[in-house]
Amino acid sequence: NAGVTQTPKFRILKIGQSMTLQCTQDMNHNYMYWYRQDPGMGLKLIYYSVGAGITDKGEVPNGYNVSRSTTEDFPLRLELAAPSQTSVYFCASRTPTDNYGYTFGSGTRLTVV
């Protein structure tokens, strides 16, 4: 049971480049989330999904897009990368009735130069 898998673990992008952060979970969780964590700060919600085909914006969605074509996958797309998107990105999942919190991936550390 792998849980939540994020790839890549590290990436350096140049300003204006694009990339997709991958997130896959094998727990059949309906709810999935993308958070970002800036240094010394808490986690800020970027986008979330309550099931395949359903996505919605979180607190800081600008500059990002998501899709949810299957229950397992929830990729995060960065278009036209900017230095302000330098951060650590965490994907998480949970079941609708799970009171035990999120299961997080190990994160993707992104640097935009």
């Binding site: 989330y33 700060m41 986690l43 609708p96 999120y102 994160g107």
Partner: protein
Amino acid sequence: DQQVKQNSPSLSVQEGRISILNCDYTNSMFDYFLWYKKYPAEGPTFLISISSIKDKNEDGRFTVFLNKSAKHLSLHIVPSQPGDSAVYFCAASGINTNAGKSTFGDGTTLTVKP
């Protein structure tokens, strides 16, 4: 406006003593509260939670207390161990609304000295 606040960025305690981490929230719609533990270069891991209908929840060395009137919760670790050294995040959620999204505090770095 930050809805979940952890006012102490860091805390240092001796091994074997009690660690108390604090968290305040402002949104009365939150009805579920969680603590996560995070080691460097890893994702947060769920530690313990409490529903707003309770004022205490215990799991081994970890106890969470909730004071709804004060909008305050705390995590007690007794006894503290060096392996407890990590960043602890408080989070709050409206479980039955808004897809169970959680709002996180900025974290408290706990250092347990041998």
